[in-house]
């Protein structure tokens, strides 16, 4: 992957993190926000592994990339189950309170 593309994607991630930071008060209202935040961090680590994969320790970062992807997918699936299936909307509102 070209360096310019990596830089561009990194900038996009910074923008996403800045947006999340800016609107953290509202995003916190999302039920089980912690799971979602952990999934986001997983994706960030995944990107870091992808970026570093071409520089050194290719195999190691390759494993890290797939492992973080697995972790992120599991966390997202867990959030979907917890927020969308297990907790009805009224309970979610109660949790927020």
């Amino acid at each position: 992957m070209a360096l310019e593309v990596k830089l561009l994607i990194s900038l996009l991630w910074v923008a996403v993190c800045g947006f999340a930071l800016l609107h953290r008060a509202r995003l916190r209202q999302l039920t089980f926000w912690g799971l979602l935040l952990a999934a986001l961090i997983g994706f960030l680590l995944n990107w870091a592994a992808v970026a570093l994969e071409d520089v050194f320790w290719t195999d190691v970062w390759g494993v890290v990339e797939h492992a973080t992807h697995l972790a992120s997918a599991a966390l997202l699936a867990a959030w979907c189950w917890a927020a969308l299936v297990r907790t009805p909307k009224h309970d979610a509102a109660a949790d927020d309170m």
Partner: protein, 513 residues
């Protein structure tokens, strides 16, 4: 690709599938449409990317361009967050609108939101109920047309003035159905100060005004009343105090409010007053209860109190009204009249009614205590002769002297009365028959002393009959008196009828007291 990576991808595929299934089942619950789709893409895109990478490695399809799919991950997260923040904002707005509507609908007063042309844009339920229509039926109408039946705004309309001045305005308006409203207009302004609407809040104050007028009338009556009108708590603490009470007791309101009402009566009456307050606190009304009271100066006054319980909405007594009327003059007049009806004004002794009234009571007490009593019936000798020869003035003087002799002879606790023209009766209390001779001797001695001390053409002497009271034998004072009367006449007959002149003086003959 290592085996480990393949296992990770396979597990990630399963996790993504689970996530998608969950999303399909419950996507309507928390998320809006856009944020829901972004989430689904977040779940699926990594799987697609891994799949494409796997195809590129094994089947030489795709190539390095697949890696560029990484760029979609932050875009999807960003879009997910953005749309979710929008969802939250919309939900908050919706909740705020709902809360506002609930609050305004729950208000008892009329709330309208009007544009600068005074068209109603929103009305609460109270407004609709007041107008007899549904809230949405008020939208687009003018408040002055709906409530006042006018084609133009009312004079001093606070909504119009709020719109023109840009400041909150208040006024009282009366509608054609005689309902009085307290109306307030609050302008809604843009940041540049332009008024874009007016919130009108109106409250029906007809009953409140009527209650205020009635309260004013009652307050005037209480203030002007010559009677003391006092409000006390159920514990007997003074809460309110009118000028009438101030004049009567001498305490100013600020001196007595907060103090117990029992301080208004003498110490010996305080328990009685406490008992009365307790009965009224239980819901009883006590009217015209007369008792002595103390003015601030220490002067004793007689007051007729009327106590009425004050009930709250749950019919529990939460206070007591006390009306106090000064009856000192009436009590004094009554005592005077009672004295006049029971006392012989010439001698100061009890008259016949007074003697029988007090004597009968004393006999009852004596019967209960098993105490003996002696009734002495005394007739002033020669009274007719004194009147005929010396005149009635001298006759009166003889009667006064006779009364004095009797007073000197008997105790203060004995009951002495003039029961006829020249007839006297004495009920000597706790005196047995064995003291009869002592009593008669004392009477004779005192009469003799009186005669010696005065220079009159006659002497004071009595014919006397004595009856001893036996509770089992005598049933009434009349009976006892008849017995003593008979003895007295026996003695009188036993006396010789002749009167021997002594230096121009006349005296009775025979044994006399």
């Amino acid at each position: 690709m290592t085996l480990l990576q393949t296992i990770c991808d396979a597990l990630a595929l399963i996790a993504a599938a689970v996530g998608v299934i969950c999303w399909l089942r419950g996507r309507q619950r928390v998320l809006g449409r856009e944020s829901g789709l972004a989430l689904a893409a977040l779940l699926l895109l990594p799987v697609v990317k891994n799949g494409l990478e796997y195809a590129a490695r094994t089947m030489a399809v795709g190539g390095p361009a697949v890696a560029h799919l990484e760029g979609f991950f932050p875009l999807l997260w960003g879009f997910f967050f953005y749309s979710f923040v929008q969802d939250i904002a919309q939900e908050q707005l919706r909740q705020t609108e709902q809360e506002k509507a609930v609050i305004l609908d729950s208000m008892s007063g009329v709330v309208l939101y009007q544009n600068p042309r005074m068209d109603i844009l929103w009305a609460n339920r109270a407004a609709a109920k007041s107008a007899g229509v549904l809230p949405e039926q008020l939208v687009g109408k003018k408040c002055y047309a709906v409530w006042h039946g006018r084609e133009e705004p009312c004079e001093s309309c606070p909504v119009l003035e709020a719109r023109q001045s840009g400041l909150p305005q208040e006024a009282e308006l009366t509608t054609p159905d005689k309902t009085t409203w307290s109306v307030a207009g609050y302008p809604v302004k843009r940041s540049n100060g332009q008024v874009v609407g007016v919130v009108e809040v109106a409250e029906d104050i007809t009953e409140k005004k009527r209650a205020q007028e009635e309260h004013g009338q009652l307050a005037a009556i209480v203030t002007a009343s010559a009677d003391g009108i006092i409000g006390i708590s159920v514990e007997g603490t003074v809460r309110s105090w009118n000028p009438g009470a101030e004049d009567m007791f001498g305490h100013r309101a600020d001196q007595i409010v907060g103090r117990p009402i029992r301080e208004l009566v003498p110490t010996e009456s305080r328990d009685t007053l406490d008992h009365i307050v307790a009965r009224v606190a239980d819901g009883e009304t006590i009217q015209r209860y007369e008792m002595a009271a103390l003015a601030r100066s220490g002067r004793s006054i007689y007051v007729s109190f009327t106590f009425c319980p004050i009930f709250d909405e749950s019919r529990a007594v939460n206070g007591i009204s006390v009306i106090a009327r000064d009856v000192t003059g009436q009590v004094q007049l009554r005592d005077e009249l009672r004295m006049l009806s029971l006392v012989d004004t010439l001698t100061g002794l009890n008259n016949r009614r007074g003697f029988f009234h007090l004597g009968a009571q004393q006999l009852k007490i004596g019967t209960r205590r098993h105490e003996p009593a002696l009734l002495v019936f005394a007739d002033l000798d020669g009274m007719k002769s004194i009147n005929d020869t010396l005149g009635h003035k001298e006759g009166d003087r003889a009667l006064i002297d006779a009364a004095l002799v009797l007073r000197q002879t008997f105790r203060e606790s004995d009951i002495i009365g003039r029961i006829g023209g020249d007839e006297f009766a004495v009920l000597a209390i706790d005196t047995g028959l064995e003291l009869r001779d002592d009593v008669l001797a004392r009477l004779q001695r005192n009469a003799a002393n009186m005669n010696r001390a005065t220079d009159r053409p006659y002497e004071v002497s009595f014919s006397v009959g004595v009856a001893s009271y036996s509770p089992g034998l005598h049933t009434s004072l009349d009976e006892l008196l008849s017995e003593a009367d008979a003895q007295m006449y026996e003695q009188k007959r036993a006396k010789s009828g002749s009167r021997v002149a002594r230096g121009g003086k006349r005296t009775t003959d025979g044994p006399a007291a």
